[in-house]
């Protein structure tokens, strides 16, 4: 069996989730990734990172098949249709989405994964295999058959209850349940996997109620997306991105994780494998901008609350990333017992970037706060103190070299984008002061702001290249420079930004895609084009006035989404294959912001203020 057979392409996965964790389902009907109880917990199913021993939950036809997929309506309920020589089978996968009011009315498991099987035409033999492997497959759970109560997999304080109306054969030693069932047209089956953590297991409701739950979940998601105010170009792709982004939010705290996976390779077989199940501050401003731009003011407010809460323990300094509850101790380690996706080793958990210095994060947080206030949000006194403290830190440290937005694991340097974001931090704080939200030492902040700009314009711009450059006095460019226009540091139509756009395009472009940088970063070369960078270029082009060109670019970029509209972190320009962690919030945020900018340039963008946000918690469905 070739690696391609054992490891489906990254783009063959779709995501389902409940805004606390998420599962990846392949087009072979296999749940190959699921961490419980939250995004950054150890995996229960990890075949994504080790097809042999990682653990999976698969339901698919026994013979050859062709699969097609879609999300039901505008929801995150996934439907996979298998066409075989003998019949057609439909598999519906979801984690229930209900309002808090509905959840209080019925005793539900902490987490529930539901799989509904329907034979639509002819007859199909269906194979089932459920093999949870907790703790990143380092452990084999204890499996007990409790008859009508289902199969109970237990491991420490964790309990998984597998129930359904398919008789399962149990291999106790391997903690694996399997079945082959013959279904004729009109016949249906169901399986559910309920998770409990430290409490008595709450069993899933029976199949009929699960089917009702599927309808209610579709309804919940369609109601949520109906709050989206965007109706500009590429609305369908934007709304799918919003749904994907929503799945990557952690509802109890408001955090947004970069991706639900770890160690999907930026180069197959390579070492560029990172853990993205955390929240990067570098994404903060763009995330808030995307959420507010689409009208999701509650989500934007929750995210900002998380942001300010999370950073309290490290204030007035900021770390690069935090976990969903604001923990900053995310030490990196490898899992040598796992083969890695298609042999891409090492598999890493935690992230070394947590110990890096990235000065751009201060600008991200200040810009996010200003955007929130601009949309009608209010900052309390403590938050104001936090923000002013960040400004003080910027004044004290902007002259220091840092690791830059790309987290290059090398000697710190003076990155132009980091300096620009320091300027953004002080500029936004001065704007907040002018509007009466915070009190800052105006003269000092203004003086530092001007000094930063002077340094950027003299050392961060190359007269020879006619472009801003990645590092002071250097002659390389990187894609973050396109953000100078998007953060309103420079006018996109100015000669300097036009020169930068041209230079970045010619140095880093490959068709409509862009590499983030070409500089030596201490790792073997060969990563793909970076998804969000192409969207930044599109946005920059639109801001410069070439809106039709930007629309054409965006149309081409959307062709790189997978069959259900999802993007990975990177794209292989040669093959169009998805690379890196998947799906990637940052890429979808880039897509949303590019579309918002195009709509704004065309004058078709609607905005909603925080105070006008419609209540989204419904009592009845």
């Amino acid at each position: 069996m070739t690696p391609a057979d054992r490891y489906p392409p990254i783009s063959s996965y779709a995501i389902i989730g409940n805004c606390r964790t998420a599962a990846l389902v392949s087009d072979r009907g296999s749940i190959d990734w699921l961490c419980l109880p939250r995004f950054d917990s150890p995996s229960i199913f990890g075949a994504l990172l080790d097809a042999g021993k990682g653990g999976r939950f698969q339901i698919c036809p026994a013979g050859p098949f062709r699969a097609s997929r879609r999300y039901v309506g505008e929801s995150n309920v996934l439907e996979t249709t298998f066409r075989t020589a003998t019949g057609v089978l439909r598999l519906t996968d979801f984690m229930p989405a209900e309002s808090e009011w509905e959840k209080r009315r019925a005793l539900r498991p902490d987490h529930l994964l539901v799989r509904l099987v329907d034979c639509l035409q002819g007859a199909v033999d269906v194979d089932v295999c459920c093999a949870p492997r907790p703790e990143y497959a380092a452990e084999t759970p204890h499996l007990a058959d409790r008859g009508p109560l289902g199969l109970i997999y237990s491991h420490g304080r964790h309990v998984l209850a597998l129930q359904g109306d398919i008789p399962l054969a149990v291999d106790d030693a391997a903690a694996t349940a399997t079945a082959r069932v013959h279904l004729a047209a009109g016949e249906s089956r169901w399986l559910s996997l309920a998770y409990s953590d430290g409490f008595p297991a709450v069993l899933a409701p029976p199949g009929a109620i699960l089917r009702e739950l599927a309808h209610r979940s579709v309804d919940w998601w369609e109601h949520w997306i109906s709050s989206c105010t965007y109706d500009g170009p590429f609305a369908q792709a934007v709304r799918r991105s919003a749904l994907a982004l929503k799945l990557l939010t952690f509802a109890p705290s408001g955090a947004v994780v970069a991706a639900p996976t770890t160690s999907l390779p930026e180069r197959p077989g390579g070492v560029r494998n990172w853990d993205y199940r955390y929240c990067w501050l570098r994404d903060a401003s763009l995330t808030v901008r995307a959420l507010l731009g689409l009208g999701y003011t509650i989500e934007a407010g929750s995210f900002l609350s998380w942001l300010l809460h999370a950073t309290r323990l490290t204030w007035p300094e900021l770390r690069v990333l935090y976990d969903v509850y604001g923990g900053a101790d995310l030490r990196e380690r490898t899992l040598p017992h796992l083969d890695g996706y298609a042999g891409s080793r090492p598999v890493r958990i935690g992230n070394l970037a947590q110990s890096q210095l990235q000065l751009d994060v201060y600008g991200e947080v200040a810009d996010a706060a200003l955007r929130f206030v601009t949309h009608g949000g209010k900052l309390d006194r403590r938050t104001c103190r936090v923000l002013v403290g960040l400004g003080e830190t910027v004044c004290a440290s902007w002259r220091e070299p840092d690791h830059g937005v790309w987290e290059i694991r090398a000697v710190p340097r003076h990155h132009t984008f980091s300096k620009v974001m320091c300027w953004v931090a002080l500029d936004r704080l001065l704007q907040l002061h002018d509007r009466g939200h915070v009190r800052v030492p105006v003269a000092r902040f203004r003086r530092e702001c001007e000094e930063i700009r002077r340094a950027i314009e003299t050392r961060g711009f190359s007269e020879r290249l006619g472009s801003y450059v990645s590092t002071f006095d250097g002659d390389d460019v990187d894609a973050s420079l396109l953000q100078l226009a998007n953060f309103q540091y420079a006018d996109a139509a100015s000669p300097r930004m036009r020169g930068t756009y041209r230079r970045v395009r010619s140095a880093l472009g490959d068709g409509p895609l862009l590499y983030r940088y070409l500089a030596v970063d201490g790792l073997p070369p060969g990563e793909g084009a970076f998804g969000i960078c192409a969207f930044w270029a599109t946005e920059c082009r639109a801001r410069a006035g070439d809106v039709d060109g930007a629309v054409a670019d965006l149309e081409r970029l959307l062709g790189y989404a997978n069959d259900v509209g999802l993007f990975a972190e990177e794209i292989d320009p040669a093959t169009g294959a998805a690379l890196g962690n998947f799906p990637q919030a940052f890429t979808h945020i880039g897509l949303i912001n590019a579309a918002l900018t195009i709509a704004r340039m065309r004058g078709t963008l609607r905005t909603r203020h925080v105070s006008a946000a419609a209540p989204r918690e419904r009592k009845r469905v």
Partner: protein, 157 residues
């Protein structure tokens, strides 16, 4: 029972507990603020919540002081180490039982099971209040032990 003494030393012990917890916040050791958690039960305004929370916190401090004093009276002795032991049990009870239950009774606190409905509510504390910083359990225990030591040492049976 000497009620004035119980109220006086209860006030002093609560002041020390509150100062220790607030100090740990300022030093970036923990995000837990008992007055803030209590105050947001009655108002969503963060600034007013702190004020209301401090009032509720001191009333709670007095109630617990009376319980400590009742225990001292029952044992016919009040010593610093007896107070420390009571404070340790008190702190453990708060961390293990009370705080994880808080999302069920706090009108503005998200539950660990929240979602996908978004929230702009308080984050849940989690087991041992670890979501408010991994040093939170230690600090909360130290503060409660200090509360008990003061009461045990200053109250005379």
């Amino acid at each position: 029972m000497n009620l004035p003494a119980a109220l006086l030393w209860g006030f002093a012990a609560t002041t020390v507990l509150t100062t220790l917890m607030a100090g740990s916040q300022v030093m970036g050791l923990s995000r837990m603020s008992i007055p803030f958690l209590l105050g947001t039960m009655v108002t969503p305004d963060r600034d007013r919540a702190m004020l209301a929370g401090i009032g509720i916190h001191f009333v709670n401090g007095w109630i617990f002081a009376l319980l400590y004093v009742l225990a001292f009276e029952a044992l016919h002795r009040a010593t610093w180490w007896l107070g420390a032991l009571a404070g340790l049990l008190h702190g453990l009870f708060v961390l293990v039982v009370v705080l994880p239950l808080l999302p069920a009774v706090h009108p503005r606190m998200a539950s660990e099971r929240q979602g996908p409905t978004p929230t702009r509510l308080l984050q849940p504390p989690g087991f041992l209040a670890i979501h408010y910083g991994r040093r939170t359990p230690i600090i909360a225990l130290i503060a409660h032990v200090a509360y008990g030591i003061l009461l045990g040492a200053l109250y005379v049976v």
